[in-house]
């Protein structure tokens, strides 16, 4: 069987169904590895992975670090606050430094959209995008796909509502590409000020009526609402947001009952999602976290293999 080659994982846009399926299939194997008494494998011994986090992120960083250790890679961490970044070192210098340190894989989280692409063009190491500004967060998209595949078995024809601040969400973009490629239908719901222009050209529908959206869907992915959106004048208040677009038990009942509920975390309970929904029967939010480690192990495994290591 023909294997898909990955040099980098910069986004889910343009990734084929075959490639996504291969990552998810491999992730299933790693899920099993995680259940073993010794939940690690030696496959990436001798591979050095650098985690470059230019933006604080506890969850994604821990998830990647755990994944790296569980495939036995050597791990080096660069945090923006703890390294030369605060002294104003440019991305280009950072890239050259990484190159000089003979790192094999770079996992990068950056506030600037396209920062992983910038690195990928300039270094030989493989680059994994761990979230770039409001562009993409491909491993989050993949773990959402894995979670859904586990819940429902088949992504084709699934109806998914993405609820919240689409404009500023890298998770939304990765989810849209991933879900569309796997044959799911996607509808977006949120305040008009947070729905980006011409987003329908990504092959999605938009509704401003949350009950309509909920009635239509099988799955709701709830996005985090950043407090600064209120300061920027994009929404009137957090209170109004909860009343108009918050996911509450009442709304779910109005829409005809239980849905699969997902959230990339960290949640603002009582703003975009109510606690009794987040902890309710349909919620798979904690399963997403476990799946995150397996998906990242799979991506590291698939990216590190192949031609690398041979002159």
């Amino acid at each position: 069987m023909n294997q898909v080659r990955f040099n980098h994982l910069l986004g889910l846009e343009g990734l084929s169904q075959e490639a996504i399926t291969e990552i998810l299939d491999s992730a299933e194997v790693f899920l099993e590895v995680l259940k073993r008494p010794i939940p690690s494998v030696p496959s990436l011994r001798g591979v050095t992975v650098a985690n470059l986090f230019f933006e604080p992120s506890t969850r994604t960083k821990i998830s990647f670090e755990l994944a790296e250790k569980r495939v036995s890679a050597d791990v080096a961490n660069f945090a923006a606050s703890g390294s030369s970044m605060t002294k104003g070192e440019t991305m280009l210098d950072t890239a050259r430094n990484i190159e000089a340190m003979k790192v094999d894989v770079v996992v990068i989280r950056h506030f600037a959209q396209g920062a992983p692409h910038f690195l990928a063009e300039r270094i030989n190491a493989s680059v994994i995008n761990a979230g770039d500004g409001s562009h993409e967060h491909p491993t989050q998209g993949l773990l959402d796909l894995l979670t859904l595949r586990h819940q429902v078995g088949q992504l084709d024809g699934l109806k998914v509502l993405i609820l919240g601040d689409i404009a500023h969400s890298r998770v939304a973009r990765s989810d849209i590409w991933g879900l569309k490629t796997m044959g799911a239908e996607v509808k977006l719901c949120g305040p008009a000020t947070l729905i980006p222009r011409d987003v329908d050209l990504m092959g999605v529908d938009v509704t401003f009526d949350i009950v309509e959206g909920l009635s239509w869907c099988d799955v709701v992915i709830v996005l985090r609402l950043q407090m600064e959106r209120q300061r920027e004048g994009l929404i009137p208040s957090m209170r109004e947001y909860l009343r108009t677009f918050g996911l509450t038990r009442l709304r779910l009942e109005q829409a005809g009952g239980e849905k699969i509920i997902m959230h990339p975390g960290p949640m603002n309970r009582g703003v975009e999602i109510d606690s009794d929904v987040a902890d309710g029967p349909g919620s798979v939010i904690l399963r997403q976290v476990t799946h995150g480690v397996a998906v990242r192990m799979a991506v590291l495994y698939l990216i590190s293999g192949g031609e690398r290591g041979i002159e």
Partner: protein, 442 residues
């Protein structure tokens, strides 16, 4: 100013000629303003066009063979950024003028967004002096308001006395409609021009590219078309109301074009320019996050590009200007959202426009030459340049058939931030004649 300063040597690969006694042999004399299109020789003596026609037997001056070339009135770029004083690591007037000459321009008008800003006669003279000894006329554009801060008018009358023709706060558009009204009223007394970068910063705040489907996919904050169109319309209204002379810089959208077309139909005295990049590039090119495509106004849609070409062809847009905006490589080679706006254009403008617009039949050769030469000078209110006997020789030589590839490493500008690197072009400038000297590529 001291015009007798000794001439500066051209860059390697170029030859310097005096115009004491110089003949250009075998070129195609092409001057739409003089309805001239003729294959013949042109003789210059003491910097002035002495005769047009075959070189007489026994003529004892220097002869340069320019067969295959168009011999045109000198090209003029009315919108460049030369960064001196203040940002000499990006470009100086000397390097900028050298790039201009190599790109075929005999005159340029640098914008005043230097540090300090060009807002008093002393600064204007300083800039003019830096260009001496080069075959390129420099007409500094002065700021409309002191320090380009939008608060008080500069001493426009005094600035006129040292040769300033155009005023602009380019890069910092006039927010206050009242200030724009006063600027148009005041410059009108002297027949001077306001060149305005039309941008409503409250709509474009934080934006880094054209707002639309590409920005949405890339997750980049957008600059909507209306961010340009609303101030274009406001400024047209103010020009009509005041009777002032408004020039709209670097228009980028189909709607802006439409507003200008209707204003001109109503008889309002406005003019407009467009850049070579807005005539040839669209926003889909930003997909790889290459900051060489990051420019303000941003690259728009294919539909906008097509409309602008049409507007240039039918004369709604008067002139082509490059908005040559040099930045040092380490400034541009950063994350896309942090990179400064701007691209250089002097050395590629003529080749790019000729290849993409004239060779493809979208623009006539005479429109191209007019938009590069007579039109910008007319907008600025400069003396006319043409190929008539008795006129000072101010000439651009252009070979429409020469094929070449753009190589940023070969550029004379200090900066290398061009989106046209690697482009294969048809049509290349061969030389310039101006200020008593000629630079001609070997």
């Amino acid at each position: 100013m001291n015009e007798t300063l000794s001439p500066i040597k051209p860059p390697s690969g170029w030859e310097y000629h005096s115009t004491e006694k110089l003949a250009l042999r075998g070129g195609r004399l092409f001057d739409p303003s003089a309805e001239l299109d003729e294959q013949t020789d042109l003789i210059i003596e003491k910097g002035v066009i002495l005769s047009i026609g075959a070189i007489p037997d026994g003529w004892n001056g220097e002869v340069v063979d320019v067969s295959g070339c168009l011999v045109c009135p000198g090209f003029f770029d009315m919108h460049v950024h030369f960064r001196e004083p203040g940002f000499e690591h990006k470009e100086t007037i000397r390097t900028g003028c050298t790039a201009a000459a190599v790109g075929g321009f005999t005159g340029v008008a640098p914008m005043p967004n230097t540090n300090p800003a060009i807002d008093n006669p002393g600064m204007v003279r300083f800039q003019q002096e830096q260009a001496l000894g080069l075959p390129v006329d420099l007409f500094p554009i002065a700021a409309i308001t002191t320090g380009r801060k939008g608060a008080t008018l500069t001493e426009i009358g005094e600035l006129r006395d040292v040769g300033v023709k155009v005023f602009s706060d380019d890069g910092s558009p006039l927010v206050s409609s009242e200030m724009m009204r006063h600027a148009l009223e005041y410059t009108r007394m002297f027949n001077l021009v306001i060149s305005e970068h039309c941008e409503d910063m409250s709509l474009t705040k934080g934006g880094v590219m054209h707002e639309g489907s590409v920005a949405t996919r890339l997750g980049l904050p957008g600059m909507p078309s209306i961010g340009e169109e609303i101030p274009v319309e406001r400024n047209i209204q103010l020009a009509e109301f005041t009777g002032g002379r408004l020039h709209i810089a670097h228009i980028s959208t189909a709607k802006s074009l439409d507003l200008i077309r209707r204003a001109k139909d109503r008889g309002i005295n406005i003019t407009a320019e467009v850049t070579p990049h807005h005539l040839t590039l669209d926003c889909s090119l930003l997909e790889g996050y290459n900051a060489d495509y990051k420019v303000n106004p941003p690259l728009r849609t294919v539909e906008d590009v097509e409309a602008l070409i049409e507007g240039l062809a039918d004369g709604t847009i008067d002139a082509i200007a490059t908005d040559h905006a040099p930045h040092a490589p380490d400034e541009k080679e950063v994350e896309f959202i942090s990179a400064p706006f701007g691209m250089i254009g002097l050395e590629t403008a003529v080749g790019v426009v000729h290849t993409r617009l004239v060779s493809t039949g979208k623009l006539s050769l005479s429109r191209m030459v007019a938009a590069f030469s007579t039109a910008p000078r007319a907008i600025m209110g400069l003396h006319e340049v043409n190929l008539k006997v008795g006129q000072a020789a101010n000439i651009t030589l252009f070979n429409p058939d020469e094929k070449w590839m753009v190589d940023r490493e070969q550029m004379l500008s200090k900066a290398k931030n061009t989106p046209f690197h690697g482009w294969k072009l048809t049509g290349r400038t061969r030389g310039v004649v101006n200020r008593g000297m000629a630079w001609i590529r070997k």
